[in-house]
């Protein structure tokens, strides 16, 4: 199986490891991530305004490129996934945005949300299957107590993201279990880390992350796992628990960590 792959700008830079581990793991699991030839930054946040068209176009281009190749579009970064999926929903269901974006793009055939956007975790859950993943684990992470940190972008708004139960998600816990580790369920796992606010309001972001890490530590998590570079950055600021990308854990369990970077 070959997927179109949208890495995103942070994965080209500060979060290279998130990307490299993902590619190595995909190879180990027998599917291919084919990076889109020309992609532009998704913008990091989804433009909420109904009249914002231009800022949605980079996503539309990526979605249409995947459509041309007849492939599903995979993202690893929570933010890219979030933006792509929401823009895709607009293109499928919001007539005004669909018309205006297509008028601007002047494509041969208009893009109407045909591409399926998948997060790497969804590929693991829905295409590979966690049972199958479990079989491929060569060095299980036995004994490690890991707290899943979802944040907002993967889950909300749930009617569009349709990723998991927005209040009581399980995909990362199932993932952790498949790797042989013990998931730690704690109530703040879907609370916001502060997001972009950490640029100007550092204390506010840190206080939010403190709540999250305190809660996780209280339930005896030894580390947190996330899919988002910004979440990781913010959580690291509170400094109470180590934070790793889920792809890193995966690479470790699949025995491809060494040499991935």
């Amino acid at each position: 199986m070959t997927y179109s792959y949208y890495p995103g700008c942070t994965l080209r830079n500060k979060a290279k490891d998130l990307d490299m581990y993902a590619r190595a793991c995909a190879e180990a699991l027998g599917f291919t991530l084919e990076e889109l030839e020309q992609w532009q930054c998704c913008g990091g946040v989804y433009p909420l305004g109904s009249d914002e068209i231009a800022s949605k176009l980079p996503s539309v281009r990526a979605l249409d490129a995947a459509k041309q190749k007849g492939q599903d579009l995979v993202a690893v970064c929570s933010a890219c996934y979030h933006v792509l999926k929401r823009v895709n929903d607009d293109m499928a269901n919001v007539e005004d945005i669909q018309t205006r974006a297509n008028n601007y793009m002047q494509l041969e055939t208009p893009y109407k949300g045909e591409t399926k956007v998948l997060h790497f975790l969804e590929v693991l859950r829905d295409r590979v299957g966690f049972d199958e993943l479990k079989k491929k684990v060569v060095s299980p992470l036995t004994g490690r107590k890991i707290g899943a940190y979802y944040g907002c972008l993967l889950l909300r708004p749930s009617d569009v993201m349709a990723f998991d139960d927005p209040e009581d998600p399980t995909i990362l816990e199932d993932f952790i279990r498949a790797l042989g580790a013990t998931p730690v369920v704690y109530p703040y796992r879907n609370e916001c880390c502060g997001g972009y606010i950490s640029l100007k309001e550092k204390e506010l972001a840190t206080s939010m992350c403190d709540k999250i890490t305190d809660s996780a530590a209280g339930f005896e998590a030894e580390c947190l796992v996330t899919a988002c570079p910004l979440c990781k950055y913010n959580l690291n600021k509170s400094g109470k628990l180590p934070v790793v990308y889920f792809t890193e854990l995966l690479a470790e369990a699949l025995g491809v960590k060494e040499g991935a970077l």
Partner: protein
């Protein structure tokens, strides 16, 4: 009819009349204590066309767009979209950007991901 109120409703796609004033948005908001105008009030400010106060509010820059209020609202009002639209109305005016490129370098550290910069520019600038 207040033009700015109409604009906010249009940009956000929110119908404030759907609100039943239960307060679940404010109960869910992680930035609640930082805000001068609270999430459940966004709706009434727009409804009462008190846009001047709303656009002057620091809440515009405290909302995380985390969508907890949107997710949990029992009436589908989407207060988070409303405040984002109010912010749009402000930053689209000349000279109203909340982040100037000049102040950026001192806000950065070694680990700052590109994503943070991109997001902040999107949220704070035209």
């Amino acid at each position: 009819m207040n033009k700015q109120a109409e604009l906010i409703k249009e940009i956000s796609g929110v119908n404030p009349l759907k609100c039943m004033k239960c307060g679940k948005c404010s109960a869910s908001c992680p930035s609640y204590n930082e805000m001068d105008i609270k999430p459940h009030q966004f709706v009434s400010y727009v409804q009462n066309e008190d846009i001047e106060a709303l656009t002057a509010s620091k809440s515009l820059y405290k909302c995380l767009s985390c969508f907890a209020c949107v997710e949990r609202c029992p009436r589908g009002v989407k207060p988070g979209k409303l405040i984002d639209a109010a912010r749009q109305v402000v930053i689209r005016q000349r000279g109203q950007e909340y982040l100037s490129p000049d102040e950026v370098p001192e806000l950065l550290d070694e680990e700052t991901p590109q994503q943070l910069l991109m997001s902040a520019f999107r949220k704070y600038r035209r």
